[in-house]
């Protein structure tokens, strides 16, 4: 871990002295590939802004034509009428609630557990850590049926509690936090302990301020996992009023199958929070990949 931070990042460290032919060639290639890559997302957002009569025209037009015909009527229809019998604003509320509470829960329990695994000695520590690490290779499908039954017995079917609690049980966050805490020098904590600070004080006043970056990373990754989760909510929730955004999107893609304007605005609304969040946090996420050495 330390070596990685010590080696300079070649891409930033060295600027080209002269813009050579190779540089220009690479630039052109990058622009072409980026445009191809962006096309589906651009199509999604641009279509959501087109008036009804411009949505399926041949030949296809990318921008509303003329630009002044750009409209929010698709969004209006989606948000203020029941889209295909589904309440989209309600689904957004559910998704936000599940993602925010779930992220909060994960941060609290994973920071506590990761800290205990990194800094405290107790019988069974090695075993617990080994179980957490090996749990990360388990395909989630193995857990699907038993967890469905547990949730059913708890009376949590069609209940947002099930969508919050079950994904929070994953061990990845604990692993991430523990790896990070192991890398912080213990000097400060030792000094504080000698001065009589309690464990909780040390965690709160010394360790957490040093860990803002990694906690933000875990929060963003967790939020995105909750926000985009499809299979588990799809199985647990049947009632329309408890559905999250991905489940409602799938449902209305059947009932509004050729109303592309409404569908695109729904998909755009679903994608927007995640894209914005990611743009802000991209650097953090990339750094944490290097930090944990998760790529081997």
């Amino acid at each position: 871990m330390n070596q990685i931070t010590a080696t300079p990042l070649p891409s930033h460290a060295r600027r080209p002295r002269r813009k050579s032919w190779a540089y220009v060639r690479r630039y052109i290639a990058l622009i072409i590939v980026s445009l191809i890559w962006l096309a589906p997302v651009a199509w999604l957002f641009l279509t959501s802004l087109k008036p009804e009569n411009q949505i399926t025209v041949a030949p296809p037009r990318w921008f509303p034509h003329p630009l002044s015909t750009m409209t929010l009527q698709n969004y209006e229809e989606l948000l203020f009428r029941l889209a295909g019998g589904y309440n989209v604003p309600r689904a957004f509320f559910n998704s936000m609630l599940v993602s925010i509470l779930g992220t909060f829960l994960v941060i609290v329990i994973d920071v506590l557990a990761g800290y205990a695994l990194a800094r405290m000695r107790f019988p069974g520590r090695g075993l617990i850590f080994a179980v957490i690490v090996s749990s990360m290779i388990l395909p989630a499908e193995v857990l699907l049926i038993p967890n469905y039954i547990t949730v059913w017995k708890l009376g949590w079917l069609d209940d947002l509690k099930a969508l919050i609690a079950v994904p929070a049980a994953a061990g990845f966050g604990v692993f991430l936090m523990r790896q990070f805490f192991m890398g912080i020098p213990t000097d400060l904590e030792d000094a504080a302990q000698i001065d009589g600070a309690s464990r909780l004080d040390i965690l709160w006043y010394i360790v957490l301020p040093l860990s803002r970056g990694i906690i933000a990373t875990l929060a963003v990754l967790t939020f995105l996992l909750y926000w985009n989760d499809f299979v588990w909510p799809y199985i647990v929730v049947n009632q329309a009023s408890q559905m999250t955004v991905p489940v409602v999107l799938y449902a209305i893609s059947g009932s509004l199958f050729n109303r592309y304007g409404a569908l695109m605005s729904a998909a755009a609304l679903a994608a927007l929070p995640a894209i914005i969040l990611f743009m802000f946090a991209q650097r953090l996420i990339i750094r944490s990949i290097t930090l944990t050495g998760i790529k081997g």
Binding site: L112, Y115, A169
Partner: protein, 308 residues
């Protein structure tokens, strides 16, 4: 630091008993810190493993009492035509998906990982799709592939390729799914490759250049070996992910045409939550796990050891 520590502690017997008490306290508070996570982890991760194994040995529809039937679910699956169909489909998806899900992100990473202006913007462009939920991805691509109003056929016909209904044609449905999936998820593997590239020491390239090595040789003898651990990790996780494919297929084709894209997990899902054969579905889950595990072990065995 050590001297400071020793100085502040009482010595002799007193120290031993103090230490003991400190240890006990430490143990208890450690368990308290672990507790909230451990409750959830045990309830929804550890217990379900054993429960799932047991369910796979029973016949159960959630209504009539659970009946222990030994390994019958597993032996039945071996002669279950539908199970083999879904397994074949999933293997086909994996075979198409894995090479592309390694090569495309590697290409993107090599392209982006250079000293150029706007590197961050390009990286963001390739990462945006993976931030979008599968349902939105499916809505976009179903329309792209739509034979009457989709834009895929329009642009293909411009360059002289005959359009068709990509998602309902038995020959093209799976490749069409793979293309959408590659576009959706390449950002993640690209990010991993970029992290791997930045760990290759620049001096290696400088030394090779002095020896007169050109572009291809630099790539062949320095970049590729340097990326070996990253590539192994990506290969393992991509194989696992491919065998677990479900949501994107469900939403693009629903498993059709003629079950040609129906995956193992879709079969599992329908067996459990539409036909309520919990025992059989659990057995499918465990067979899937076994397959994934075998592939993971094989990949670690077959790949050359990275020399330190």
């Amino acid at each position: 630091m050590t001297t400071l520590n020793n100085a502040s502690l009482p010595s002799g017997r007193q120290q031993v008993s103090l230490r003991k008490r400190w240890w006990r306290q430490q143990t208890w508070s450690a368990y308290l810190y672990m507790l909230p996570f451990l409750i959830l982890f045990t309830l929804f991760y550890v217990y379900p493993i054993f429960q799932g194994l047991y369910i796979s040995l029973t016949s159960w529809d959630l209504i009539t009492p659970q009946k222990y039937i030994g390994f019958q679910n597993y032996t039945n699956l071996l002669s279950d035509k539908q199970f083999w169909t879904t397994l074949r489909n999933t293997a086909y998806f994996t075979a198409l998906n894995v090479p592309l899900a390694i090569l495309v992100p590697l290409g993107l990473a090599l392209l982006v990982n250079a000293p150029i202006r706007g590197q961050g913007i390009f990286r963001t462009v390739f990462s945006v799709p993976m931030m979008i939920s599968v349902s939105a991805i499916a809505i976009i691509w179903r329309w792209f592939y739509d034979p009457t109003s989709g834009i895929t056929n329009y642009y293909l016909e411009l360059i002289g390729i005959q359009g068709r209904n990509w998602l309902t044609d038995i020959n093209t449905a799976m490749p069409a799914i793979v293309i959408a999936d590659i576009w959706w998820r390449s950002g993640w593997n690209m990010t991993l490759f970029m992290a791997g590239l930045q760990e290759i020491p620049e001096e290696l390239y400088d030394a090779a250049k002095i020896d007169g090595a050109g572009g291809w040789n630099l790539f062949r003898y320095i970049t590729l070996p340097g990326l070996q651990p990253t590539t192994l990790f990506i290969a393992v996780t991509t194989v696992i992910g491919s065998f677990r494919v479900f949501a994107i297929i469900l939403q693009l084709t629903g498993g059709g045409p003629f079950e040609s894209t129906r995956s193992v997990v879709q079969n599992l899902y329908e067996t459990a939550f539409q036909f309520f054969k919990m025992g059989k579905a659990s057995a499918i889950a465990w067979i899937l796990f076994a397959i994934v595990l075998v592939f993971t072990i094989l990949q670690f065995r077959l790949s050359p050891n990275p020399t330190e």
